[in-house]
Symmetry: D2
Subunit: 143 residues, 4 copies
């Protein structure tokens, strides 16, 4: 996939870092290529649900935002990405000190972009796939 | 729908309040009937995305957890609810100082419960539907 | 919701009737208002799955197409509707001689329209909700 | 993934061939390994929608059933698989004389199995990915 904006990586990174909710969660963008991004989040105790697992909402947020970053790499410089819908399957209880998410664009488009994202929880040296998401996105002129 | 646990309301409320991520987000359960719950969240500036809208992940979290509470009202006292998958459509940009979510069980089951949840953003006196979710849940023995 | 094309009903009905797969399945449009359509399908034995229930794919097809018709009522005369994605929950095994589907637009839009559809199976005098779907659609200029 | 039933392949194939709706559509199972199946469908003119593309419902049916077959390979001999929900993204208009679907189990489980399925349309020598689906399934004792 060929980016329309040669400065896609700086732009994507700057947007990721400028997002209050992701900063608050402690997420950071690890890698950023055309149509493909990877992010990480250090799990804090307040991110758990009542049984001690990482909350589905934390995983959904990381999946959504990493997919948005992956879709954003393919946009023109004056466009922003918006999530149309997200579907996430929680595959097993998520335990551990870190979440990692890898998102890839399945189908880029002028109006509609479809991406998928895998979320892994790392506990010590072991990493497990805990969720998989499909995300539909659209673009809009930035303000 | 008839609850199997006569103390379903206290149990559901206690679980909601014992969930670190929901407490941190400032969510509270407003109402709780068999198969039906309503919750609210006061929006903090760190819950926004880069354009000033309430982050999709905050809305997904509230939808997931309120649907889980609605499904939980129908469980036996020694069971807990787990999200299998969540699908959420973001219908319009969410602006405002409060989110409200109303969740209802479409189909209760011994293994599989399906619920839907509507999320509204309130700005001053005006409330708008900003997202709608379908959530599939299962139950497990509590530990 | 206000239709842009005053002849929306004839146009929607003509498109529904011109769709080979829906004709083959024996589906017919019952009602058609702005943002809202209802359709019916007489179940043939070849529409079942291996246990004698109406196949999930038949229900998904009817949900998709009725939602598309509902979205189409709001389009301009020179636009056609395309499904972006469909998500359907099968709520109980579908038994009976007729399927009925009611679809309603949740959120119309220039680019993205979101609809939901309920599918009911009728057996004798009894009708049961067997599936619920959310559908995201877009529009394109007709050829 | 290790099948519990050593005769999983014959059982899966027999069930696929015994499904009236899939037979009617002209679908056939090509390959069947533990947790992984591939199927094909020769497209008939009555399987199109109004613009000449292969109907989304045909693609959803093939994705659903191939995913069900993949999940079924991991079941015990006296269990059957049921679709809980299906979500499918239509990635591009589907044109051609054949659909092929490859489905793989992402996460097998005693109660809940999650699979994904890719649908390709072949036109002459060229095959394109036209849809991707995630499917949640459960099992029940066979009758």
């Amino acid at each position: 996939m060929i980016p329309r904006d040669p400065r896609f990586a700086e732009r994507t990174r700057a947007l990721f870092d400028a997002t209050p909710f992701l900063r608050h969660l402690g997420a950071e963008l690890l890698r950023c290529e055309p149509g493909r991004c990877e992010a990480r989040l250090r799990v804090a105790p307040w991110q758990l649900q009542q049984d001690g697992f990482i909350h589905a909402g934390v995983q959904a947020t990381l999946a959504d935002h990493t997919a948005g970053a992956a879709a954003g790499t393919l946009l023109a410089a004056d466009e922003v990405v918006l999530t149309v819908e997200l579907k996430i399957n929680l595959l097993r209880p998520a335990l551990g000190e870190e979440l990692r998410c890898a998102a890839v664009v399945l189908r880029p488009g002028a109006r509609i972009t479809v991406a998928e994202a895998e979320v892994f929880a790392r506990r010590g040296a072991e990493e497990k796939l805990t969720a998989k998401a499909m995300i539909t996105l659209t673009s809009a002129p930035s303000r």
